[in-house]
Amino acid sequence: MPEVPEHLLRRSRERRKALGLPVEGEEGEAPADEPAAADAGAADAGAAAAPPAAGGDDGGEGGGEDVETQGGAKIPAHLLERSKRRRAAAAGEAAPAAAGGGTATAVAAPPAPTATGPGGHTQRLLTVVKSGSIQQTRAEAQDKVHVWPHLLVIEFASILIVMAALTIFSALVKAPLLGLADTNKTPNPSKAPWYFLGLQELLTMFHPMVAGVTIPGVGLLLLAVAPFVDKNPSHRPTDRKFAIAIFTIFIMLWAVLVIIGSFFRGEGFNFVFPWNNGTFFEL
């Protein structure tokens, strides 16, 4: 407990006397309590003493109209009224209770309502919060890291690696440029770009409308609606065996078709083995 300088206490006492407020040490009641109360409230007494005008002014008003607090916020008149009534009703017990109440006792101990804050308050109402205006939001704790440097460094490194690999590859491997296009000279075999070779492979099995339009169209459509068909909310592979199996079969089928179309189709788009006849494939 910090010691309050004697001169401050003295000044406080003088001011309080001048304002007609009860001064500690001159109270008739509970002289036995006094040293303890003074001790407990020493800091507060000092604090109250420093701006003595504040408490005095508020005590002076205390009427039916709104009271301007130090912060500028108004305390609604009806609340002050209500509090006054409550205090009056409980006046009998209020004084002893306040006396035993710890910190503010030195200031608030006296029974008279005019002795303390606005309208006899020993505390101030700062604001009124309507019920329901407070929302409890419970943020889920997430384990997060800063994008800089953790993510950007990875992105930068991966870009560098790809860029370097691509540059080296491009310096070593030339992009194909065959002879000038000639509509009268059909190369044998004629192949689509590699990603369409699965479709071209399907052409050998189905009618062109089915292979070239229906199957890729339906395939893309199925792919697009996958999230609306797959209602299983789980992300865990063990819960998604069916979806994963279907997708893997789909992809594998496609990959096999592309590989066959790329490497196992020779002249006349007939099935050949690349190790017998060489590859007929240009990227």
């Binding site: 491997v173 509509t183 590699w194």
Partner: protein
């Protein structure tokens, strides 16, 4: 130290040089111009220190803020989770744009000139061959990375709510990527280009009901020729990139709006 300085005098020189450098640094990085370019928190600003606050500022005061939030889930930065496939697809798109613009300087989309332009590009233009090779290989690689990105997303179940719509956008992006690659295939106007496109457009000609119209719109005539080359050129360098950029913007935006990368499995 003091002994070393006494022997050769280098220590003093070093101090003077570093002090001079400091002064230059203060002049340059303390200048108004420098500070107008690099926003607060930039790692290029004077006095950048590695603190959580500055780490946030690096992103918040950076154009990358359009792509990345300040923080991401820890598992989302694991290379083994994403394999960087989506980001690399985007990077390849940028690379293809840059190399493609270079190629446009030397290319005229007519049957009489295009093949010769490519030949000239390869033999007479500095880095012409390298840039063309990069453009072509990057294009194939991009088809691959986009496809693998889709597989990755599927196997992680990342297309599930709330990311359904972004998956649909992704399928559109895959289609656009294939179309971009396919339209570029014709442009060198060599035998490979001509006949690959012939095979492809013949297939499209089997579209029920409007088959022949689809084929006509794509070719600009009854058979592949000048009109086709011009159309596919415009599609390849203008229309499809424009469309794909819009879809990419939506795609990236939704990635963030849907809560970043999907959670750990």
């Amino acid at each position: 130290m003091a002994i070393g300085n006494g022997r050769n005098g280098n220590g003093n020189g070093r101090v003077r040089v570093s002090a001079a450098l400091d002064k230059v640094d203060e002049k340059v990085r303390g200048s108004q111009a420098w500070n107008s370019i690099f926003r607060p928190g930039s790692i290029y600003r004077r006095g950048y220190t590695d603190s959580p606050r500055n780490r946030s500022y690096v992103i918040m005061n950076n154009v990358l803020y359009h792509l990345h939030p300040v923080k991401v889930k820890r598992h989302a930065v694991k290379v083994s989770y994403t394999l960087c496939l989506g980001g690399l697809s985007f990077f390849l798109f940028i690379l293809l744009t840059v190399t493609g613009i270079f190629l446009m300087f030397f290319y005229r989309p007519t049957t009489a000139t295009s093949w010769n332009d490519i030949r000239t590009l390869e033999t007479a233009v500095t880095f012409g061959s390298l840039v063309r090779n990069m453009h072509r290989w990057a294009a194939h690689l991009m088809v691959l990375t986009v496809f693998l990105h889709m597989c990755r997303v599927f196997y992680h179940g990342a297309y599930k709510a709330p990311r359904e719509f972004n998956w649909v956008i992704g399928v559109i992006l895959l289609t656009l990527t294939l179309l971009l690659s396919f339209t570029g295939y014709l442009l060198p106007w060599d035998q490979l280009a001509l006949w690959a496109v012939t095979v492809g457009t013949n297939m499209m000609g089997y579209t029920p009901v409007f088959g022949s119209s689809v084929r006509y719109v794509l070719l600009g005539s009854q058979q592949i020729g000048d009109q086709t080359l011009l159309r596919w050129y415009v599609l390849h360098v203008l229309l499809l990139p424009f469309v794909i950029v819009i879809f990419m913007a939506v795609h990236f935006w939704r990635v963030r709006k849907d809560g970043g990368l999907s959670g750990p499995l």
